[in-house]
């Protein structure tokens, strides 16, 4: 009887999980399907899920009209560059907070996180002026810096919670053996925390890839990533839903594939990380 109940509960949970997953995935699926329709089919009052004339026309148009690969390259440089730079800063910061705590460490961590609660538009003008004066507008270097700064609080938090799991005695032993701070971090801490560092890196790549405020405001023609590429297909006067869907699919598929292959790391990262 108890066994039957447990199977029933499992089935219910599985059904709920699949329903929620379906609801979350449906807009992406619909975007993918629409990208293979004609513009007329895309706005049809009785849309079809699979029974329509599939076409690659939208992808051809998008590739002919926009320098997709330039945007793609910019997204790669910005997301990976900011993630690596962020790790270089976040690892020592998280180390000191995890292993050399003071009474103000918690406050400092909370303050760092609180900067994420500030609406970005609140600091738009000062950052724009700084970028203008330092010649960073529409440069990949500028965006790498700003993406690093935006995601740094989350990176520090994630790494901090990871490092807290590592016994201090391990690091103390290294110190007893004469390791410097750099050696202690590089040869002892990093190998142990590698899964956590990898998931922090992956999450940051995804966050930087999807960021669509600063990447739109601070770029023009040279450093614009895929977010700007998608925005160029949205029109206030004209129905380009199929082309917009094709552009969106081309922008999200790379990160979707990365997410698919690294989902175990990501789930582990999120369950051990800042939300723990």
């Amino acid at each position: 009887m108890a066994n039957n109940n447990s199977i029933k509960t499992k089935l219910i949970y599985t059904f709920i999980a699949w329903t929620i997953s379906g609801l979350i995935f449906f807009p992406i699926l619909w975007t993918l399907i629409t990208s293979f329709k004609t513009e007329a089919e895309a706005i049809s009052a009785s849309p079809s899920l699979f029974m329509f004339d599939w076409t690659l026309e939208n992808y051809e148009d998008v590739l002919a009209r926009s320098p997709y690969f330039n945007h793609f390259w910019n997204s790669i440089v910005i997301s990976i560059g900011s993630s690596i730079l962020g790790l270089l800063i976040a690892i020592p910061a998280a180390w000191s907070m995890a292993f050399v705590q003071t009474k103000r460490t918690k406050n400092l961590l909370m303050w760092m996180l609180s900067t994420k609660m500030l609406p970005p538009v609140g600091v738009l003008i000062p950052i724009y002026l700084l970028f203008r004066d330092f010649g960073l507008l529409d440069t990949k270097v500028g965006l790498v810096i700003v993406m690093t700064l935006i995601n740094l609080p989350i990176m520090v938090w994630m790494l901090y919670t990871y490092f807290r799991e590592i016994p201090n005695e391990v690091l103390e032993a290294a110190r007893m053996d004469g390791a410097s701070i750099g050696e202690e971090i590089l040869y002892v801490l990093l190998p142990i925390a590698l899964p956590g560092i990898a998931s922090t890196l992956l999450l940051n790549v995804i966050l930087a890839w999807n960021e669509a405020f600063w990447t739109l405001i601070l770029t023009a023609a040279n450093a614009a990533p895929l977010t700007a590429f998608i925005a160029s297909y949205s029109s206030p006067e004209g129905l380009f839903y199929a082309k917009l869907s094709a552009a969106s699919a081309m922008a999200i598929v790379p990160i979707l594939i990365l997410g698919w292959f690294s989902q175990k790391q990501l789930v582990r990262g999120l369950s051990f990380g800042a939300v723990k």
């Binding site: 003008i125 002026l129 023009a220 700007a228 206030p236």
Partner: protein, 435 residues
């Protein structure tokens, strides 16, 4: 020896051209006419090998946010900006734009329609050149009108529109008599309702900048809008903008649609419109008070004061807004796809008039809109469907939210107007009007 010299000369020429070529960055919206301009710009660069073009194409609101930030901080990211008739007088007055005084001898400025040109001129200086312009008009289904036993006049009244909408509505078949913008925003429902209010005798402000939403004229306007949309509009109309209504009209769900004249080319396009053969056009409605409910808008090309490549930028603008460009589009894409509404010569062209069934209505609508005297009673501002003051984007959207709430039934018409009156009074007090 001579071959060697020739090679060196050729290389030098190539290198000097490459080194001297200036690159101008053009920010534009993703509208059909702009996409055509980008496609045909190869013709410009082949005629002007010393100028390279870089394009930044964005959605209208994102573009507005970006170019406003850039022009206000003198960021210098763009050399040519696509801006609307709302921005030009404000930015021109602020000194944020360069005067267009080097458009060339062959650039026929006097050919630009006066209604459009006036809106782009500040103290007799032209600050932007119109790329395409639009007003608003009535688009209707001729087959449904015939079925209802009615004939649409060339210049209908609001009363007739309501009568026709009632006759055409067949909710069981999914046909709705009247489709109007309902989405909240200064460029969305407010564009339509403000233009509509002009024909009802209403105005945003009196001569002392006192908001007028407590007037009977505003009450009549909003009551008509809410009543008509509730009875004859499609479900969920408070989420509908231009694109949503275009999709509804093209798929046969709307009897009458009042919106931008630029839609004429879309609804008569047989590739995308299921009702292309049954579309008629008429002037925007009125109430017999001397003003029709049509707006006036133009997408223009302007040069920010921070651009260091003003000469090259003016050459590009001169090319893109010239009569020759119109002919180029006609040759490559057909007359019906020519950017409309800016030059008188286009409407004297029999080829264009034959190809575009909506051309005469577009011209009549543009010519009847008067941004300097937009309302029945006098006003201290310029603009037909907007008030050309910097505060309007904010207050326009806030008032649009109140009107959308009235449409969804969250508020009564009276409550929405009271709320609009309060919030505009507060905003104007904070901005220290009258100035």
């Amino acid at each position: 020896m001579s071959i060697k010299k020739s090679i060196i000369a050729c290389c030098s020429l190539f290198l000097s051209t490459a080194v001297l070529a200036e690159t101008i960055t053009i920010a534009t919206v993703n509208n059909g006419d702009m996409i055509t301009m980008k496609e045909l710009s190869k013709s410009f660069t082949s005629e002007n090998p010393d100028i390279n073009l870089k394009w930044v194409t964005l959605e209208e609101n994102i573009l507005r946010q970006r170019v406003t930030t850039d022009v206000a901080t003198k960021g210098g990211q763009y050399d040519v900006m696509t801006i609307g008739t709302y921005e030009v007088p404000i930015w021109g007055k602020q000194g944020w734009l360069r005067e267009l005084d080097k458009l060339g001898e062959n650039y026929d400025v006097d050919d630009i329609l006066p209604a459009i040109r006036n809106g782009l001129t500040v103290k007799d200086k032209l600050y932007a050149a119109p790329f395409y312009a639009e007003s608003s008009m009535v688009m209707y289904r001729t087959d449904l009108m015939a079925k209802a036993g009615l004939t649409m006049p060339k210049a209908p009244s609001w009363e007739f529109i309501q009568k026709a909408a009632k006759a055409m509505t067949d909710k069981q078949s999914g046909v709705y008599g009247l489709c109007l913008r309902g989405k909240a925003g200064w460029g969305e429902n407010i564009a339509l309702i403000t233009a509509m209010s002009n024909s009802f005798g209403a105005r945003w402000f009196d001569q002392n900048w006192k908001p007028q939403f407590d007037s009977q004229e505003w009450h009549d306007t909003l009551q008509y809008y809410v009543d008509s949309m509730t009875k004859y509009g499609p479900p969920g109309s408070s989420a509908n903008g231009f694109n949503e209504n275009l999709a509804l009209f093209q798929t046969g769900k709307c009897g009458i649609w009042i919106d931008a004249t630029v839609a004429g080319a879309f609804v008569t396009n047989k590739e995308n419109s299921e009702v292309a053969e049954h579309v008629g056009f008429a002037l925007a409605p009125d109430n017999g008070l001397g003003k029709r409910g049509n707006w006036l808008w133009s997408w223009t090309l302007a040069i920010p004061a921070s651009s260091k490549k003003s000469n090259a930028a003016q050459r590009f603008i001169s090319w893109a807004t010239s009569k020759e460009y119109t002919e180029l589009v006609a040759a490559k894409k057909g007359w019906v796809n020519v950017p409309p509404g800016t030059r008188a010569s286009l409407y004297n062209n029999p080829d264009y008039m034959a190809a575009a069934p909506f051309a005469q209505i577009t011209l009549d609508s543009i010519q009847s809109a008067d941004p300097i005297n937009p309302t029945v009673k006098p006003v201290p501002y310029v603009g037909v469907q907007f008030v050309a003051i910097p505060e309007f984007q904010g207050i326009g959207t806030a008032v649009g939210q109140q009107f959308a709430a009235a449409l969804t039934g969250q508020m009564t018409v009276k409550q929405a107007l009271q709320s609009a009156q309060r919030l505009v009074e507060r905003a104007m007090r904070k901005a220290r009007y009258p100035k």
